[in-house]
């Protein structure tokens, strides 16, 4: 079992390192340093002016710390095939899971210490928590994280009582943390220590619930992959399709070709594409609201439309690996035109929403209208001159 665990941990570390290198590239690190620096500058500048001992300080600290503590799942690294190949290894599962718990502690511990460090001046000078008490609470939180992961590992067995429920666990920790911070911070450490020891003595079933354990790991992996996929392509990422019936009114039902029929539905139901469209549109609205300036909002609106369109072009290859797409008599000749038609409709919808935001959030309505017209002209040039060229390039790379 140790060999399997070590092999899986090593291969997982290799994978995480690969994606982390891609995510935290030079530019991103630079941007992070600037953003973090700006936030810390603002924090250091303003903390002096905040009044002492307001009633909500300790509950606020408790909420932030409890939230940070709950970040991070138990990485079991189970695979679907384990249901078959490790089915008779129920009695070995504790030995398998213990190193996984240890491995899963690293990231949350780091996060807890980082956030605790940032909060420390505030907790000490404004909330009036003593130095030692504060760090005992933090130590207690790390122990609580261990308790949480241990309870999760126990929930993988068929138990008479399942002691782990994510929502309840968070609420219980939060309430106890608030009470301890208000009345006696050291008490939290004692509570956490007793929990961390006591969790080992909880009654636990002996039959391993393989289906649940594998599902849990798949969900965890999805979350991690979703995070990476915001920055880079993730291989073998599973995409869950959502029906989204409420969006059916957006489907064009006239003059359909098999390609427009398929592309429209992929755009609306495949989160890879629909979430991108929604995320970018919301980002543009947020910028418009923050900037309160028609000119900059218009410029950023144009940039958002360009970036969204650029990232949606791979929609054209979404059925490339579907055998039926090649077996059925679906014309490949006008595929590019069909893709352009679907993307043009989607992007014009984005322009409409961004324009509405411009009108609502800009103080100078008349100038905002002008910006909208210019933005529409820019969108048309993008969609009817640039997009067809890019699509042609995309399909020219595909060999049949």
């Amino acid at each position: 079992m140790n060999r399997i665990v070590n092999k899986r941990l090593q291969s997982n570390q290799k994978k995480q390192l690969h994606y982390l290198t891609l995510v935290f590239n030079d530019f991103f690190i630079l941007a992070l340093i600037f953003m973090f620096g700006a936030l810390m500058f603002w924090y250091a500048k303003n903390i002096k002016s905040w009044p002492n001992n307001l009633w909500f300080y300790k509950p606020l600290i408790a909420l932030i710390l409890a939230t940070v503590m709950s970040v991070g799942h138990l990485a079991t690294l189970f695979e679907k095939a384990d249901i078959q190949f490790m089915l008779n290894q129920d009695d070995q599962m504790q030995a398998y899971l213990n190193p996984m718990i240890k491995h899963s502690m690293y990231l949350p511990t780091l996060l807890i210490i980082l956030v605790a460090g940032i909060l420390f001046p505030f907790a000490l000078t404004r909330a009036g928590i003593s130095n030692y008490a504060y760090w005992f609470v933090i130590l207690g939180l790390i122990l609580t994280k261990f308790t949480q992961l241990k309870l999760i590992s126990q929930s993988f067995y068929f138990n008479e009582h399942n002691f782990y429920q994510a929502g309840w666990f968070f609420l219980v920790v939060l309430v106890i943390l608030i009470l301890c911070l208000i009345y006696l911070p050291y008490l939290y450490f004692i509570f956490a220590l007793i929990s961390a020891i006591g969790v080992n003595y909880l009654p636990c079933g002996r039959v391993f619930n393989w289906n649940y354990a594998v599902e849990y790991e798949e969900r965890r992996r999805d979350i991690v992959d979703n995070f990476y996929s915001m920055f880079t392509d993730v291989q073998d990422k599973k995409v869950k399709i959502y029906r989204r019936k409420y969006l059916d009114f957006l489907l064009d039902k006239k003059n359909q070709t098999p390609n427009t029929f398929l592309y429209q539905r992929a755009l609306l139901r495949d989160p890879e594409y629909s979430n991108l469209l929604i995320r970018m549109t919301l980002f543009s609205l947020l910028l418009t609201w923050v900037l309160q300036d028609y000119l900059w909002a218009g410029v950023f609106g144009g940039l958002v439309i360009f970036l969204t369109m650029y990232q949606l072009i791979p929609l054209g290859t979404v059925y490339e690996h579907n055998m039926m797409y090649h077996v059925q008599p679906i014309s490949q000749a006008k595929r590019g035109q069909d893709l352009a038609r679907v993307l043009q409709k989607g992007m014009l919808l984005q322009w409409l929403v961004i324009s509405l935001g411009l009108i609502i959030f800009s103080p100078m309505k008349l100038y905002a209208l002008l910006a909208i017209v210019v933005l529409l002209a820019f969108t048309f040039i993008l969609l009817y001159l640039y997009l067809p060229v890019r699509i042609k390039q995309l399909f020219s790379k595909i060999r049949y």
Partner: protein
């Protein structure tokens, strides 16, 4: 009006699996393609569907050459794969709409009437608005069957149809094949389940080491391989295995 495979040689890049394969299917004829795993059944099917590049030979359906006019050729073929292949973003109803669109079914009312009949037959009629990607494997296979029989093409290419289907669905499927044969359609079906396949097809083509050794009824195949009347037909696979090992 027929499927004519003439001296087909092919396989994957650098690997020849099919060698000089000849096969004719006449209208109103259903042929079962049988053979051991790795004999070349799926490769033959992939060539007929235009998914692999032929090294040599021709495939013609009703006089249309696959290489020269693939679009016209594909409009006359429906394929039912062994493992269901669906469009994850489409509901069952949309899979049927897409089938009508791709196969150019112009009489939409008639097509929907047929679609409803087929869905009812396979107990899918109350799941039209569902995403079949979330169905069980058997249910997904039924979606493939419904779409194929809705398309009503000249040739049905069916790969291991009985996998995952319940006995009721198997019986309905066999009935649909018989109905198609009566309507002068052509059927090519790979299978290992000879007892059930025998109900649906009139002849079997035995594929071994990339070539067809014989096309005939089960009796003719028995006689070709010197099987005794008391021998189970499954003994054929032992003989094929022996032949394979000797080569």
């Amino acid at each position: 009006m027929s499927l004519k495979i003439n001296k087909l040689t092919g396989g994957y890049t650098g690997i020849t699996i099919i060698k000089d394969l000849n096969l004719n299917i006449e209208p109103g004829q259903a042929i079962g393609l049988i053979g051991l795993n790795g004999a070349g059944k799926s490769t033959t099917i992939k060539h007929i569907l235009g998914l692999l590049r032929m090294q040599k030979g021709t495939i013609e359906l009703n006089g249309t050459n696959l290489t020269q006019n693939p679009s016209k050729f594909k409009k006359m073929v429906a394929y039912i794969p062994e493992t269901p292949i669906l469009y994850p973003e489409l509901t069952l109803k949309e899979h049927l709409e897409l089938t009508m669109l791709t196969y150019g079914l112009t009489d939409i009312d008639k097509a929907w009437q047929r679609a409803h009949e087929l869905c009812k037959m396979f107990r899918l009629d109350n799941k039209l608005d569902w995403l079949p990607i979330n169905f069980s494997k058997g249910m997904q296979q039924k979606v493939m069957l419904v779409a194929a029989f809705l398309a009503n093409p000249d040739l049905y290419v069916i790969d291991e149809p009985f996998t995952g289907l319940d006995p009721l669905a198997v019986a309905n499927f066999i009935d649909l094949i018989k109905e198609a044969v009566k309507q002068n359609k052509m059927v090519l079906m790979t299978t290992h389940v000879l007892a059930e396949a025998q109900e649906a097809v009139q002849k079997f083509a035995v594929l071994n080491n990339g070539t067809i050794e014989i096309v005939g009824s089960l009796e003719e195949i028995r006689s070709f391989y010197h099987l005794k009347p008391t021998d189970s037909i499954d003994r054929l696979y032992k003989i094929l295995n022996q032949e394979s090992a000797n080569e």
